[in-house]
């Protein structure tokens, strides 16, 4: 039985665990029918031209892992940004872990999707925001159909959240193969500010397939900084679907750091619904082996006087493949738009591949839009210069790669995240440079 059939036939079992007489369930059922119709994406779809999910869809995933397994904090502490105080929303095999988490209802809500979807007091927010900007495409629909658990974050007006929020999904590998579908909703009201760190981490070599959907609403004057750390086991694959709606004068930045995992696909979508908005999309990808990372971004400029800045860096070794597909749409009303897109790649090995498709669709005349895409190597002369001065070739290469990725790191606002990423890069490049950027 293939995965689609398995998922379709397990929907009845899923319905046993939820209230099927709710409005939410209508949304789920519609999405389920949508998925039933579309199935999993294939390479025949233009959006999936360069990424095939076939190898990971072959696994016999357990769709509702029900064996509870507790984990010790000491075992997983390394996956937290632990040197600062944070709110934490932690899931183990898709189930909330109250032991590892630190949630709050004190002026802000940092809690669970399961309670937001069922409790009356959250109903107005859910009605206004749940599944409003998520696309109706295959995998998003699949997630919507099974949406039940995830992080729910609601920041009311004029609130500056004093510490970052971490969302971590652990997989324990109690099943041979696990499929997870977390669903996050983040609503940030006027003048509010929040920083969020998201991570997916499996603790064994067993196969994991995560299909996560995150919806973020940023109201007027709000600021949202979102960091995605993707450094999972080579047996874990991730499809991350993030949808962001921004109102006037809001600033939303999403940084994606992709170092681990088997197949990683990031669908990052920005919809600008007001004026003077700034959207920032940045990413560093450093992969090797047979890893595959696909960044699929969309910035939809709908209103005038907005900006978007994209900066994606990739370093590809061994047989790894990278994909960058960045689309910018400027509607005819969106005059005075400034949209910038940059994608730089380094191929380290003869076997590595990069496929890039930076795409502009512009309907307004008074705009400044540019995209730049380069594929190249490290500067031989710079390497030689450093070697002459006693820096080993490995370190010299690493230094240059650091410098290459630094424009993305620079805009990370949480120092602990920055130093963590620096360490991860050093690990990935297998060097110890002995300084922090």
């Amino acid at each position: 039985m293939d995965l689609k059939e398995k998922i379709v036939s397990s929907y009845v079992a899923f319905e046993d665990g939820v209230n099927i007489n709710s409005d939410i369930h209508e949304i789920r059922t519609d999405a389920f029918q949508q998925f039933e119709k579309l199935g999993f994406p294939s390479k025949k779809l233009e959006a999936w031209k360069y990424t095939s999910l076939n190898t990971i869809l072959k696994e016999d995933y357990s769709i509702f892992p029900d064996k509870e397994k507790s984990i010790n904090l000491a075992d997983v502490k390394q996956y937290f940004i632990h040197d600062i105080d944070t709110y934490k929303v932690i899931f183990i095999d898709g189930k909330y872990s109250s032991f590892l988490s630190e949630t709050t209802h004190d002026s802000i809500d940092v809690c669970l999707m399961s309670s937001a979807l069922t409790k009356a007091k959250y109903k107005p927010v859910i009605e206004n925001y749940f599944n409003k900007i998520a696309k109706q495409d295959n995998l998003t629909s699949l997630n919507t159909a099974f949406s039940k658990e995830g992080a729910y974050i609601h920041i009311p007006k004029n609130t500056e959240v004093e510490k970052p929020i971490q969302i971590i999904n652990f997989t324990t590998g109690t099943e041979a193969a696990t499929m997870l579908q977390p669903r996050n909703l983040i609503v940030v009201e006027q003048n509010a500010h929040v920083q969020i760190i998201e991570r997916h981490q499996s603790l064994t070599e067993n196969a994991v397939f995560t299909n996560v959907v995150t919806e973020i609403y940023a109201d007027r004057h709000s600021t949202v900084d979102f960091y995605k750390i993707q450094n999972d086991h080579i047996s874990a694959s991730l499809v991350d679907n993030t949808f962001i709606e921004q109102q006037s004068e809001s600033i939303v930045s999403v940084h994606t750091f992709s170092f681990g995992g088997n197949i990683t696909r990031n669908n990052l979508n920005f919809y600008q619904k007001g004026e003077h908005i700034d959207s920032i999309l940045k990413g560093i990808t450093i992969i090797e082996g047979k890893q595959h990372v696909d960044h699929h971004t969309l910035v939809h400029h709908i209103e005038p006087n907005c900006e978007s800045h994209q900066d994606y860096k990739g370093i590809f070794d061994e047989r790894s493949t990278g994909v960058f597909n960045g689309k910018v749409i400027v509607e005819k009303e969106a005059q005075k738009t400034n949209a910038y897109q940059k994608n730089n790649n380094i191929l380290v090995s003869d076997k590595s591949t990069i496929n890039a498709k930076p795409q502009l669709e512009i309907f307004a005349d008074d705009v400044k839009c540019s995209h730049g895409c380069t594929i190249g190597q490290l500067d031989e002369e710079a390497l030689f210069y450093m070697q002459q001065r006693g820096i080993g070739i490995k370190e010299a290469r690493a230094l240059l790669m650091y410098a290459f990725a630094n424009t993305v790191l620079e805009s990370v606002k949480i120092p602990e995240v920055k130093s963590r990423i620096t360490k991860l890069i050093a690990n990935k490049l297998n060097v110890n440079i002995g300084f922090n950027i």
Partner: protein, 482 residues
Amino acid sequence: MSKYTEDDLREELETKEYEYGFYTDIESETFAKGLNEDVVRAISKKKNEPKWMTDWRLEAFRVWSKMEEPEWANVSYKKPEFQEIAYYSAPKQKPKLNSIDEVDPDLLATFEKLGISLEEQKRLANVAVDIVIDSVSVATTFKKTLGEKGIIFMPISEAIQEHPELVKKYLGTVVPTSDNFYAALNSAVFSDGSFCYIPKGVRCPMELSTYFRINEGGTGQFERTLVVADKGSFVSYLEGCTAPSRDENQLHAAVVELIALDDAEIKYSTVQNWYPGNSEGKGGVYNFVTKRGLCETNAKISWTQVETGSAITWKYPSCILKGNNSVGEFYSIAVTNNYQQADTGTKMIHLGKNTKSTIISKGISAGKSQNSYRGLVQINSRAENARNFSQCDSLLMGNKCGAHTFPYIEVKNKTAQVEHEATTSKIGEEQLFYCNQRGIDTEKAIALIVNGFSKEVLNKLPMEFAVEAQKLLEISLEGSVG
């Protein structure tokens, strides 16, 4: 100058009608509409073709009948009814003429209107013109001069008779019959076109030129061009087009194949100004063209195109850089106005070592038109030290039009250096103001700026063509952007 605002300009631009819209009434011989194996056979018989050619056409027809029309391009239009088209139309010009004086005066008048008076060309321009009206070549000049160098430049139908070994060897090697829907259709029914062969080490002493016109209403025109540059040779080939006004959409599906053998260079320039439809988007030519060149070792192919006409353009002149050190270039200006839609670009396939490619594409959209750049740069795993530079700039006039870029970049070799940049902008207020201050009126200023915008490409055109191209830009965008 009175207040002549950009809005006025835009309006004038939108109401500007096609200036070359005339129709010459020459008696034509046209097949009944529709397409089947018998029609393909009949075309072949009409041309008195050898059996291998007939079989080749039939093979293509069989492939075509199994294919589906592609839909991936960023254009929308009513698909042509392929059974409603007459697949052969030739001016009744028998017997063959020995001198220009014998040519139908009506036909000569047509050339006059196009500004390509043969006499004048013969005397002044030093251009050999192989004129195609509705698919059959009726006049060829300078044949003798070329003949002395061993250069073959003739209608492909004659080449099939006179040089079957060359045609057989190269036809369909770069664009196979099964390549795509329109290439297959062309292979099955092509009525005529040009064939050009430059022998080893010969530098073609003049620009070779062909003018295409679609003349008979309701007939599709299916040209087939084959240019072979043997080792160490050089040729510059020009292709220019205008077509009369028509209300029903006319289909044009040409195939151009270029073969540059070792150390050879081919420069292929196109000015395309077919009827784009009127300001409501009615009528106009559908231009679905397959152009591709193959470069052997150290060879170079350079495509230059100025696209101002056609209702729908669907055209991707490509280079297959097969040999080591081969070079591919693509320079393009695409102007769309009113309801025109253009989806054009190039493919650079790097197979050999040290191959280089350059892509410069300029898109100008006005009115309610859609202008897309679609390109592919592919560096294969054996293409060591390949180098590509791509630049796509778009200029928008007003907010009813659209500019799109769809660049595909696929790199499988670590030594590759690929750069792609694209920008979209409008004509700067400051630039206009600067010109106005210096006594240059807005219209001229816009013309100046557009010319500057397109200069990189215009510069690549041969002299005679550059003038015509500049004129075309002005006609297509007159009053608006120059």
